[in-house]
Symmetry: D2
Subunit: 367 residues, 4 copies
Amino acid sequence: MGKAHGHAYHTVHSMFPDCPKPRMKVIVGRDRAHAERMAELFGWEEVSTNWEEVVRRADIDAVDVSVHGALHAPVAIAAAQAGKHVLCEKPLANTLAEAQAMLDAVRKAGVVHAIQFNYRRVPAVVLARQIIDEGRIGEIRHFRAVYLQDWAMGDVPAVWRFTKSEAGSGSLGDLGAHIIDLCHYLAGDVAEVSGALETFQKERKAIEGGGSVPVTVDDAALVIGRLSNGALASFEATRFAPGRKNHNRFEINGSKGSLWFDLEDLNELHFYSLDDPAHLRGFRNISVTERAAHPYMANWWPEGHIIGWEHSHTHMIHDFLQGVAKGESPRPNFEDGVKCQAVLDAVERAASSRKWETVSAGAARAR
Amino acid sequence: MGKAHGHAYHTVHSMFPDCPKPRMKVIVGRDRAHAERMAELFGWEEVSTNWEEVVRRADIDAVDVSVHGALHAPVAIAAAQAGKHVLCEKPLANTLAEAQAMLDAVRKAGVVHAIQFNYRRVPAVVLARQIIDEGRIGEIRHFRAVYLQDWAMGDVPAVWRFTKSEAGSGSLGDLGAHIIDLCHYLAGDVAEVSGALETFQKERKAIEGGGSVPVTVDDAALVIGRLSNGALASFEATRFAPGRKNHNRFEINGSKGSLWFDLEDLNELHFYSLDDPAHLRGFRNISVTERAAHPYMANWWPEGHIIGWEHSHTHMIHDFLQGVAKGESPRPNFEDGVKCQAVLDAVERAASSRKWETVSAGAARAR
Amino acid sequence: MGKAHGHAYHTVHSMFPDCPKPRMKVIVGRDRAHAERMAELFGWEEVSTNWEEVVRRADIDAVDVSVHGALHAPVAIAAAQAGKHVLCEKPLANTLAEAQAMLDAVRKAGVVHAIQFNYRRVPAVVLARQIIDEGRIGEIRHFRAVYLQDWAMGDVPAVWRFTKSEAGSGSLGDLGAHIIDLCHYLAGDVAEVSGALETFQKERKAIEGGGSVPVTVDDAALVIGRLSNGALASFEATRFAPGRKNHNRFEINGSKGSLWFDLEDLNELHFYSLDDPAHLRGFRNISVTERAAHPYMANWWPEGHIIGWEHSHTHMIHDFLQGVAKGESPRPNFEDGVKCQAVLDAVERAASSRKWETVSAGAARAR
Amino acid sequence: MGKAHGHAYHTVHSMFPDCPKPRMKVIVGRDRAHAERMAELFGWEEVSTNWEEVVRRADIDAVDVSVHGALHAPVAIAAAQAGKHVLCEKPLANTLAEAQAMLDAVRKAGVVHAIQFNYRRVPAVVLARQIIDEGRIGEIRHFRAVYLQDWAMGDVPAVWRFTKSEAGSGSLGDLGAHIIDLCHYLAGDVAEVSGALETFQKERKAIEGGGSVPVTVDDAALVIGRLSNGALASFEATRFAPGRKNHNRFEINGSKGSLWFDLEDLNELHFYSLDDPAHLRGFRNISVTERAAHPYMANWWPEGHIIGWEHSHTHMIHDFLQGVAKGESPRPNFEDGVKCQAVLDAVERAASSRKWETVSAGAARAR
């Protein structure tokens, strides 16, 4: 993620001249040599291994928190307390309590905050929201999403993502968080859930020193739920789906039409409308690359010249920088982060209680 | 369904010369005029409105039960008791108790029995099973299926399918039963489930006499489950998905590969294999139309000349007639019907208890 | 083709009650045993090996000419002279002169005539024509089509299709004729062409007796052309495209929109309209299965329950039988057959002269 | 194109650390204000409006020629004579004579040269070449490509691309050149062609001063040809295909398999192999995003995280900069440019003579 964010800061002003050109002041890493390489490649002026110092420096205005989950809360809260604007990777924290503390901190400090639910800023996803806001699919009845990958299959060793104390959860927080946030953005608030979590591969070889290490997070998560507006929702996340590399696919059915999207083909949105004449109805494959008609696309290439995954980050960082310039938190921000965290929390409770569980109301209030 | 079955009996011998040519003796219907029209079109020799009489006639060998759910048990049991072979539409019955009584009846009578889970007999689905049996996708970890339609939206009046006493359930039994059966065929037995049922449109206009009638079945069903082999499963059925006409889509992920299928494009099967060289891996779109290589296709047209939905019925009826000739019940049969019914039963219990529920073991025993 | 036609006559009245039920009087074949098998399967009442006798029988009203190309003219002309209505397989003849003689014969006899350019009667293709007639794609500028197969690769022996004296031509008449006819139906008359013909495999093993036989027809044909309305057209036919089984794909671009179609997915039509709002434009995948909205589909299955390739024949034969009942030749008929033949003729001249060649005006006049 | 190149120079070293970091010395433009904006955005150190001066400056090592076609030859030749390495946009020139003069100039000067046929550097296209080189599709028999766009429809005014003296040709050189080059890269040398050029919209409104201006280039080009290895080829380019934004699609059929690709979905390659078991054959959709297996992708994002169109430029410029570092011209270079130009030249001759024309042998020699 450091690479994707570095690339975005490095290029955002080139493509969006209206966006302030960020001064890339310091990159912080545990591994100084790695941080130095990143600095050389993306143009960070300095390198540090001490985040506590850096987040308090007077010449720093904003902090980008791209570390593993267990450090989100300490870094973000310290930064807010030092009066810095904060952009944080997702999910916001490893627990709901941490996430709420983070939201409290940025609110109290009055700083601009944002969360890198970058898939909200894919042009096709923004267009989906616009189509919904225009009333074109009517009242929403179904939101269904899967986020399938296969990278964890085979011999992958016990990196931090497989350890609960560092990552919080597995596929649920890593992948599920994205599709739950997309549901919040596009369809409505999740009110209650039932779910299952599963770890297919119980042990993995240690990164160092030989031997094996227990996997303490989920490899897959199955969730069904109801939204507060009465719609039904389903979410599935897994790291064990051969051939699915980054298959974040959602479909929304409303009273007047439907939408679907697949992140592996992120320049397209599929839209079906009951308003079309009966003999002409069909899912339209919209190439969301029209300079004159589609979100963010005026700044890119000619029609049909597709953009890549990294620009979901570019757009989110564009929005954050614009937010900093205007003194206003963009969406999604820490409130969205807390709301998503409350759903993750309810899923974990449901997987354990084997019953439907209600999403914490306090969190929902945040919207 | 009467039309689809009539068409199948009328054409099966033409395309499958090895299959006994059925003598289409009597068609029974509540509406004599309609039954007479069907007789004229498909070649039924006689027409009756009295099924009790017909199922006992000495010149009848086999009975095809294509009536609404509430009549499945009475007709099938009477037929079995009269020593007739029985083919029954799905789901087997409106309740698990009825379904078990039907299975008891055919077992006791020693007749050939089959259930019209016709999607098992789509060539691409049979090929999926073959690929699994060949070990090509390894150990199964995920089965996910949706069956989405949109015909119930809008002004559709209160036909029998919206009344619990006649139909048993709504989308669950009508659509969900198919994908649960496909799970049993391809991935393994469903052991436990959690679920939700929803009725979006609470009333519909009466077919006759004006006024409106309450809808007593589900418009949509969401189910998550675990198979007895440890795999995760999800099922979703709805009649409220605009643009989805007959979208029965499943995906199976194993330890070595994946498969997916969509009934609206039923001549194709999609297969991904980790055994392929790394740079060549991708989902193959297999056109399941090879005369020399694919199930049932030697009897149809040249390669790439696709077959239609109705031939899933033709193949099932072919298998039933062959079964009658050999005195052996084909698959799927009433045992498969009971097993599916036990899952439907568990889903209804789970939707009501708001907890995970175990699928009845007695039913599972049937396999 | 005998099997596809037999199947169509056997089932057309079942599905289209408005269509006269044909009495399947006599099947004629060179191989009596084979003809007897077909008679048993599809219900032909008698079998003969003498077409000259049969076409003159008083109890015969109509003759279906499904024989190899060299016999089209003799059979069709004899049938017409005997006052029989005639349906002929495509291409109409092996030469333009023969085709014109056949058209003269049916005109002189005043019989109903039709040509089995069955792809005109695929519902999605009829819908394409309807969309064009409604003015929805505007003035046509491009028609491009390919018809790709792969059955001739490998060890296929020297069947009649590889011999010019029997088949007339190879991929050009077998596949190219279909897409040229679709151009005539949908886009306009071909006025002039340039082209190339190629035989990749110069010899094939003889069917009997060992040894090899020269291939005297083309394996592939490339054609570019101009329509009389000023549009550009391209056609490609080959039997040497691995993985392409029955890939008849066309695309039409007009001043206001586009259409495309692929025969391997024949229940779908793809339509793009510049009349849509700019942010919603995209190719619609229309599932041409709406009972209330799409050609021929009221007589088939519920929405999304696809039909197979054979029903392009069923529909054409339906139209022919209706034509016989009304005493009016349906479209496409021998006039369309001659017009197509004139293009095939021009392509063969162009491939030989290595120049652009004009399509015979006499033929075009036939429309 | 200035924007795409600027972006590539700005980011190439960030993503490809092995690639020398270019010093972006001077940007030259006719419009100083515009050049200054580009300099600010992408980091060019200086701005000039005088290319003659700049190409001779001692502190310049390499010149990137991204101007309209009529200036390619003067700039590139002057740069070569001044001993600068040269990267030139495509097509190489407006005429074959100019192109040959350019090749002579870089050869004589001994400088590194390259041509921005950037689609050769799309990872999926490089993979296609690798699959061909591995012998997986066997001997090539067909190359067919279309490059369809729709931007010229409607009210687009008479920009330089519509004037022969500036652009050389229309769709032929702009779009056709790309697919002809892909044929040379993947399938073999074009030996002879027949073709047609068409201008649908004969006049366009002037950019300034009102009134209309004649269009002197083609809106569409149709070409059929033979390769020197005996394969057949077809090429179609148009700017009048509604809904086709950047639809550069090719298919290659060989004796053992097939490949196809569509630039609007540039992260995928489709591959069919007759070496697969018969029941498993199908076009594989390869997501060309495997870090460990696919060209260029080790430097980008995780699997399934797609890259955008602009990185075909990034990769080409990466190769050019590596070439400069090593003192070796990468492929494609001016030789490939001349070879493509010879085909464009033959197409123009054929469109005029209405006969097949041979591609100039002198040009082919260049390989």
